[in-house]
């Protein structure tokens, strides 16, 4: 579904991603681990057309998407769920969700997705008239994920879904991601260390200093002493 070949990304003069190649299969849950500030978020942003200077190939369903504007990529069915949420602060929960379905490709299934989101996030829907800026960190994160689902994307690129959240939210987010995956969606997650997420991973990558340093099944990662200690904290 997603194939990246020798991707290089730059922010001004600094070279962030270095020859990154990876693949994510249809319906898989793939997790990218690695220390903070080593390019994991940049990778997701590059896929979603949110980074200006990129070089290399990004194929989505066989189509080249590297360098396309973000609105075209959203239309093709790829969405980015930001680590810092990027909600519309002075709009209600409902309005944020409706804008999640802004892409032309999402409009036809807006109602269906709204119902799905309501079943996944019942607490959120109880507060559909609440302003996004008045929500707690955990609630805002839920809203960001829900807004991402409204785009009707088949590939969800989720940036640190559990960062800075209380343990109860971490468990809930893991459950929700499992639900999303059950619906046949492909999920590519960048995260630091969430055992519940790693459990459901089909594949694990580790990124260090802008390059992939490990690729394998979760069992391989769990059996590797060094990785267990450094990245999985087990």
């Amino acid at each position: 579904m997603l194939k990246i070949n020798k991707l290089n990304t730059y922010y001004g003069e600094s070279h962030i991603l270095k020859d990154v190649s990876l693949s994510v299969g249809q319906g898989q849950v793939v997790i990218m681990l690695g220390p903070n500030g080593h390019g994991k978020s940049t990778l997701l942003k590059s896929i979603c057309g949110l980074v200006e200077k990129i070089d290399g190939r990004i194929l989505y369903d066989g189509q080249e998407i590297a360098g396309l504007p973000s609105e075209k990529i959203v239309n093709l069915g790829v969405t980015y769920i930001a680590e810092n949420r990027e909600l519309f602060p002075y709009m209600t929960v409902k309005e944020n969700l409706k804008l999640g379905a802004y892409a032309r490709s999402a409009r036809a299934s807006e109602k269906k997705n709204m119902a799905w989101v309501a079943s996944l996030f019942p607490k959120l829907m109880q507060r559909h008239n609440q302003m996004a800026s008045t929500m707690s960190g955990g609630e805002a994160k839920m809203l960001a994920i829900a807004r991402g689902l409204m785009s009707d994307a088949d590939l969800l690129c989720i940036d640190e879904p559990a960062l800075g959240l209380q343990p109860s939210y971490r468990v809930e987010i893991s459950k929700i991601i499992r639900e999303i995956s059950k619906q046949g969606k492909t999920v590519f997650i960048v995260e630091q260390n969430i055992p519940q997420l790693i459990e459901m991973a089909d594949k694990i990558y580790i990124m260090e200093e802008g390059a992939i340093s490990f690729e394998g099944k979760k069992e391989d990662a769990l059996n590797n002493e060094q990785l267990r200690e450094i990245f999985l904290g087990l």
Partner: protein, 290 residues
């Protein structure tokens, strides 16, 4: 005395309504693009000349009906092209807000001197939309003023409706509130920037048509309008549409009462005093966000 005060109040209300229409457009552009359009006043004059051209030399069929009907696509296209051709290319620079300010200042002078070379330095007058008066008790109202008030208030209601009830309107608000978030959900930012510019140009163009037929079309009159629009925008709170709305009516009233009591020459200084005092106490303006 009482009748005089009522007259002054009505005049403040009518001017305020047109100022509101124009200032809301200016604040919209600032709210969405974070760039200030200093050529805004010159587009007010473009409204005046547009109406004059159609009504006097071209004697268009349908009079003001045709003027208003044609003004919507005309100002939309002018605003859209202006953004695409002149403003959008600047956005690749880090200090593009400053560059937009410089460019629009230059554009404003270019347009003002352009009006002089094309239409001559003398002021032009437009026929009034409607003649006659209406009497309510002892108060005499010009029908022209009533029409101006109705048109500018309906213009604003239309604008408010579009902003809150259409997909594009919601997208405009989304870009204003969080451009990165807007990009994530697939809103084409470049189109929204241009559309916002176009909508604001329609609003100021309409303002120009409405007020120029009451006053005159003055090739050098844009500065005065620019000052007003800027004062309202800053006083109301940069980027706050509601703030601009209130500020426009407050300014309209202030102008009317200061002009009546102290004389027109003191009007600008009074509005600027109000602005400076407000900003000293509340730097974000009446309703701006800190």
């Amino acid at each position: 005395m009482f009748l005089e005060i009522v007259d002054v109040f009505i005049s403040g209300l009518i001017n305020g309504s047109v100022y509101a229409l124009m200032a809301v457009g200016l604040t919209l552009v600032y709210g969405v693009t974070k760039a200030f359009n200093f050529a805004y006043g010159s587009f007010y004059n473009l409204g005046g000349y547009f109406a004059w051209l159609l009504l006097i030399p071209l004697t268009v069929v349908g009079g003001y009906y045709s003027v208003f009907f044609l003004a919507v696509p005309f100002f939309f296209i002018v605003g859209y092209l202006l953004e695409k051709v002149l403003i959008a290319p600047l956005r690749k620079y880090d200090d593009w807000e400053m560059k937009v300010m410089m460019l629009t200042l230059g554009l404003s002078l270019f347009m003002d001197f352009g009006y002089q070379s094309v239409f001559g330095p003398r002021i032009k007058s437009l026929p009034s939309i409607i003649d006659g008066t209406v009497e309510i008790g002892k108060v005499v109202l010009f029908q022209q003023d009533i029409v101006i008030f109705i048109l500018s208030v309906s213009g604003m209601l239309c604008f408010g409706w579009v902003l809150n009830n259409t997909r594009t309107g919601m997208a405009v608000q989304a870009v204003a509130q969080n451009p990165a978030g807007a990009q994530i959900v697939g809103i084409p930012k470049d189109f929204i920037f241009a559309a916002t510019f176009a909508i604001s140009t329609i609003m100021v163009g309409f303002g120009g048509i409405l007020l120029c037929q009451k006053n005159f079309v003055d090739p050098m009159g844009s500065t005065d309008i620019m000052i007003k629009a800027w004062v309202i925008t800053a006083f109301g709170g940069m980027g706050s549409i509601r703030g601009s709305l209130y500020a426009a009516f407050i300014l309209g009233m202030l102008e009317a009462f200061v002009g009546w009591y102290f004389g027109m020459i003191h009007v600008q200084i009074a509005t600027l005093t109000l602005l400076l005092v407000t900003l000293a106490i509340r730097p974000q303006g009446l309703m701006g966000r800190e």
